[in-house]
């Protein structure tokens, strides 16, 4: 098991915990691979009825690791070509769908930041418990498009999803996310994991074979309406968006001035 990911089993509830607190649990390749393995292992383990996902250090995750060090998935355009960019995005979307396909309930317990790719994970989870003060955030600068908002649109409807998509740096508080149906419930700061554990223990009272069938029945309803297809299609949209001049200007600015300065300039209206 990677140091970046902790796992713990409490009764029939398995906890999967992102553990890069110094990076606000940014999703590096290593972390994502360990995560995928943990979901596969707990998914196949009949002694586990429910999986709870959370982040160490007060944050869920700030999303894909876009640090120029290249330590993780890069959202900074199609530097290695649109095809491999697309393959990488597609692989990433397929990975989140493994959570959707895991044959038992998965709960995301969100404190602090939940941004970018981490919002995709929450959408693919069966249940989301969120701290009322959490920040569900969209990218701070315009880098791509069509990857993050369409999945959330299933939960919050097209109007709010478009607003989040069109305005860089937009987001919702945990309280708003719960009110809009993006999360099941907003709870007091610092209690999301405990509340998720409590909920998971109640869910685990239902026999696993029934839970599996119940989840499948609901998921197939949404798959047949197009959830899976449109979720995967985000890779095509985003890979194409990365080639837009508007996105490339942002990337050039990040390279030239760094991410923080680029965000500052964008927010101030100077433009990137």
């Amino acid at each position: 098991m990677s140091e970046n990911l902790l796992t713990e089993v409490r009764g029939s509830v398995a906890h999967v915990i992102f553990n890069r607190p110094e990076k606000l649990n940014a999703l590096s390749f290593g972390l994502l691979e360990a995560f995928e393995q943990a979901i596969a292992d707990f998914g196949a383990d009949d002694s586990v009825s429910v999986i709870v996902i959370s982040g160490a250090g007060g944050n869920f995750s700030v999303g894909y690791d876009v640090s120029p060090s290249g330590e993780g998935y890069t959202d900074l355009g199609a530097e290695s070509g649109i095809w491999s960019d697309w393959e990488s995005l597609r692989q990433s979307n397929q990975r989140w769908l493994k959570v959707w396909d895991t044959p038992k309930p998965v709960i995301s317990a969100i404190e602090g930041h939940c941004m970018g790719g981490a919002t995709q994970l929450s959408v693919c989870s069966d249940i989301t418990i969120v701290s009322s003060t959490a920040r569900i955030g969209w990218p701070s600068v315009p880098l791509g498009g069509g990857l993050l908002s369409p999945p959330s649109a299933w939960l919050i409807g097209p109007k709010k999803a478009k607003e989040l998509s069109f305005i860089a740096g937009s987001g919702m508080s945990g309280e708003e996310a719960a009110r809009r149906g993006w999360a099941n419930e907003a709870v007091a700061e610092g209690t999301a994991v405990d509340c998720a554990q409590e909920l998971a223990a109640r869910i685990a009272q239902t026999p696993l074979d029934l839970l599996r069938l119940k989840k499948m029945a609901l998921n197939r309803q949404y798959d047949l309406q197009g959830f899976r297809e449109t979720f995967l299609m985000g890779a095509e949209w985003d890979a194409i968006a990365h080639t837009a001049l508007g996105a490339q200007r942002t990337v050039a600015s990040v390279h030239e001035r760094g991410l923080k300065e680029t965000i500052r300039r964008f927010k101030s209206g100077e433009g990137v």
Partner: protein
């Protein structure tokens, strides 16, 4: 011995050989899981431009393992068919051409496994059969969808409802077999695959994928309906008595279906 042998007989060609010859390569849990794994691994396998799917011995694939049926609970059938879904959808979505080299018997899910490939080439003595209804079951692994897409609704229903055998020559005539390969079948199949492996992989890959999507009403829907219908049927007395006949000396022909 692996139930799915994997080798690379030529540049760009990966070959998956169903390898349970004594059971006519019937799909048991292990073989299904191996196929799912092979499909998933093929996506990122840069060396594999074309997948050649074939069988060891006198069968391509005799479908589901009837010896594992009959006592299976409907909820279990749902789980088994999820593997079928992953194989069929996986082959259909895979951005590489898949060639089924049907070396012999292709019956039941084995027929549909071949249909899930993009191209079917056959040994002159190969035969095809949608044998499901003989067991009191219905087609799965995409059969209700793939065969009608391939040869048209009326002809598909004839095959699915009568469960009669089709020769390789009939397959060519109807269109679900691309061609019959004469001579050493294994060698000819590799030659056929090699020619395709030499063309542009990305263009070919997307062409295959998007052509499949293009003609779909929705494969997903067919698979859902099959899974639900099959789960119900797998709990009927007719199915149980057919399996009992299969295991007895009388054989399937002696099955009496009471419609319950």
């Amino acid at each position: 011995m692996n139930v799915l042998e994997i080798d690379r007989p030529a540049v760009g060609v990966i070959r998956w050989t169903l390898n349970r010859p004594d059971q006519l390569n019937a799909l048991n849990a292990e073989l299904r899981a191996s196929l799912v794994h092979a499909v998933e691994a093929a996506e990122g396998d840069k060396e594999a431009r074309v997948i050649l799917l074939t069988g060891q011995g006198r069968a391509f694939c005799a479908g589901g393992d009837v010896n594992q049926m009959g006592t299976r609970a409907p909820v279990e059938t749902m789980q088994v068919l999820q593997f079928g879904r992953r194989i069929v959808e996986g082959l259909s979505m895979l951005q590489k051409p898949v060639i089924a080299a049907v070396n012999g018997i292709a019956s039941g899910a084995g027929f549909n496994l071949a249909l899930a490939a993009d191209l079917v080439v056959a040994h002159p003595a190969a035969w095809f059969q949608q044998s499901f209804v003989r067991l009191g079951l219905m087609p799965d692994m995409g059969g209700t969808y793939l065969l009608s897409r391939s040869i048209g609704l009326a002809r598909a229903k004839e095959a699915l409802i009568t469960a009669r055998r089709f020769s390789a020559a009939e397959g060519v005539e109807l269109g679900f077999v691309s061609r019959i390969l004469d001579g050493d079948f294994a060698v000819a199949a590799v030659t056929y695959a090699t020619a395709i492996a030499e063309s542009a992989p990305l263009g070919v890959g997307l062409t295959k994928w998007l052509t499949n999507r293009g003609v779909e009403g929705s494969l997903a829907e067919a698979l859902d309906r099959e899974a639900l219908g099959q789960a119900l049927l797998s709990g009927t007395r007719d199915h149980a008595s057919a399996v009992a006949s299969f295991k007895s000396k009388a054989g399937l022909d002696g099955t009496h279906f009471e419609g319950a």
